[in-house]
């Protein structure tokens, strides 16, 4: 060993000093560093987990938002459809009212025309009747014979009693 340059005493002393240094380093340097690294590793893992959770929440929120938007869209479509239906109903009702009003006006006009026609016919009838009676009065006295006069008198006489 001596031929190799190894001296047992120096080797032992160096080994002891190296062990001491290693011990000191282990206690004072490596262990806190490892502890800190472990803590940081845990923190990073937590951060990653939080990031994943936040991502998931974001995705959920986005899904909820899309769902709410879809529901709002459906509701809006339903409201628009209802409004259109109501407008159509109102339009139909107004149209029916207008038709009924027009029919009523036509009926009244027809009634007025019928009344006017009736009045005209009645007036015409009366006028014709008046002319007929007037003419008859003019000629009756001349055409009635004595027998006619006697018969008329007897007719009246038969009503007495």
């Amino acid at each position: 060993m001596e031929q190799l340059g190894i001296r047992w005493i120096e080797l032992l002393a160096q080994t002891i000093s190296f062990s001491l240094v290693l011990f000191v380093l282990w206690k004072l340097a490596y262990k806190p560093v490892f502890t800190m690294l472990e803590a940081r590793k845990a923190k990073i893992a937590d951060g990653i987990a939080n990031a994943d959770r936040i991502k998931a929440q974001l995705a959920q929120t986005e899904a909820d938002r899309q769902k709410v938007l879809a529901e709002a869209g459906d509701l809006a479509n339903k409201i628009v459809a209802d409004a259109r239906a109501a407008a159509a109903r109102v339009t139909e009702q107004e149209a029916q009212k207008a038709i009924a009003g027009a029919e009523q006006i036509i009926a009244k006009a027809r009634e007025a025309a019928a009344q006017e026609r009736t009045a005209t016919l009645t007036a015409l009838k009366r006028e014709v009747g008046r002319l007929v009676v007037q003419t008859t009065m003019t000629v009756t006295g001349k055409v009635l014979t004595a027998d006619d006069q006697r018969r008329l008198t007897e007719e009246t006489q038969s009503k007495i009693g």
């Binding site: 006295g141 006069q149 006697r150 008198t153 009246t156 009503k159």
Partner: protein
């Protein structure tokens, strides 16, 4: 003029005394009026007024007015008088008139009753029916 119930009752009673066999006797009417004028009972003016009205109504009820478009023949006069006497009883007062406006037929009025068979009335009814 206000005529009391008593005056009306008295007038009706006097009027009944003026009737002979249901017919108004002119002489009795004259006697009743003369008696009232002579005795002048209480409210005699009202009684006379009421009696006058009753006599007037009775005369009107018994008066017959016969209107004919042509002259009524004696046979027709007799027939009309017989018919009316049969219907209304005796004591009717007849008056005959010629009314060419009737055109034809006869119109007989007895009190408030009217028998109108004239051509004029028939034509008027015809005219009204148009």
């Amino acid at each position: 003029m206000k005529i009391t119930k008593q005056a009306q009752q008295d007038a009706r009673q006097l009027f009944r005394t003026c009737l002979v066999n249901g017919l108004l006797d002119e002489n009795r009417v004259r006697q009743v009026i003369a008696l009232l004028g002579e005795k002048k009972p209480r409210g005699y003016v009202a009684i006379l007024t009421r009696l006058h009205r009753l006599v007037k109504l009775e005369l009107a009820r018994r008066t017959v007015r016969v209107e004919n478009a042509v002259e009524t023949s004696p046979a027709q006069v007799a027939a009309i008088q017989a018919s009316l006497t049969k219907a209304y009883g005796p004591g009717l007062s007849f008056s005959y008139w010629i009314n060419p406006a009737l055109l034809g037929g006869v119109r007989i009025q007895v009190g408030s009753d009217l028998y109108d068979g004239s051509v004029k009335t028939r034509l008027e009814k015809l005219e009204q029916s148009f």
